[in-house]
């Protein structure tokens, strides 16, 4: 009875939050605005097609955001009842194998008695903690992707309305750049500290064979983020020139 009360309250709060978010999104990224824009732009122009595609993705994202929590809870509850349940989650791991540490093995003929490298270790999320951690990391990824899609959609909409060079677009690109950089720094750390903790627990750790969580920094992602920041600066400059040009009579 007590748990039903807690679940009921949580459900009411959840519905309230979802409705609130939907209203905010509807207000800020006005769906009705498209009707006015479609009059002065070609129906099947490239911008229009991109806009429609982004609309489709955005609708899917919103559906995911709304359905995520109930699905997560239902899956977690069912997981507790079935022993064999769980997702396979890959995680990066480094390994080293040291023949020197093995007793009764002659390593004098080996040029490299130590072998090391990187590997992907797959483990399942049958632990409830691992399951929630996996779900949370996936949800954060979805949120970041949602944010980027919203920003790009807003940019495409401003392109449709003829506002190619605007300070708003510059700040949107800057936001995407910042998110890209932060994401590419946080993801490896997350991988190292969260999944790494599990690998330490489930894998044997002797002196001869060692597994450790690997830290994979996506340099390309960081460079793309920085380039987006530079692009944003350029667009800001272009927006100022465009504004001055508009005020030249």
């Amino acid at each position: 009875m007590y748990s039903i009360f807690i679940l009921g309250t949580a459900l009411v709060v959840y519905i309230f939050v979802v409705v609130k978010i939907s209203l905010c999104v509807k207000k800020k990224y006005n769906w009705q605005g498209d009707k006015q824009l479609s009059n002065n732009t070609a129906k099947w122009s490239l911008t229009s097609i991109v806009k429609r595609t982004l609309d489709f993705f955005l609708a899917i994202f919103y559906a995911i955001v709304i359905l995520w929590l109930p699905v997560l809870v239902v899956m977690a509850i069912s997981q507790q009842q079935v022993d064999t349940w769980g997702f396979d989650v890959p995680a990066y791991a480094g390994y080293s194998f040291d023949f020197n540490q093995l007793q009764n093995v002659d390593v004098s003929g080996l040029r490299h008695p130590e072998i090391s490298g990187k590997s992907i270790i797959t483990f399942d999320t049958s632990s409830i903690y691992a399951w929630y951690l996996f779900a949370a990391t996936q949800f954060i990824s979805a949120m970041v992707a949602l944010f980027v899609v919203i920003q790009i959609r807003a940019m495409v909409m401003s392109l449709q309305s003829g506002l190619s060079f605007s300070t708003e677009n510059a700040s949107r690109i800057k936001r995407i750049g910042i998110v890209t950089i932060v994401w590419n720094i946080i993801t490896p750390l997350n991988q190292y500290y969260s999944w790494g903790a599990f690998i330490k627990e489930i894998v044997f750790n002797t002196r001869a064979i060692q597994f450790y969580p690997a830290f994979e920094l996506n340099v390309l992602g960081l460079v793309i983020g920085l380039l987006l920041m530079v692009l944003s600066g350029l667009l800001n400059e272009a927006a100022q020139i465009s504004r001055e040009q508009e005020l030249t009579i």
Binding site: E244, L247, T248, I249
Partner: protein, 72 residues
């Protein structure tokens, strides 16, 4: 102390007894742009615009534009 350019378009319009709409039609500038110019919100003015304005208002560029010192 800063200096700025003041546009004396309203004064000239009164002196020449020409309305903004008439000026807009004769010069070939939109009312919106002419309004920006009149209110002193314009960032720059093209020589071609200045020539057209001087032709219609029968004046010199110095009559339209004036250097103004303000205490901003």
């Amino acid at each position: 102390m800063s200096t700025s350019i003041k546009v004396n378009l309203d004064l000239l319009l009164v002196q020449r007894k020409v309305s903004l709409t008439e000026l807009s039609e004769q010069v070939g500038i939109t009312m919106a742009n002419l309004s920006i110019l009149k209110r002193g919100k314009a960032k720059a003015i093209r020589f071609s615009t200045l020539i057209a304005l001087c032709d219609v208002l029968e004046c010199q560029p110095g009559d339209i534009l004036e250097l103004e010192e303000s205490n901003d």
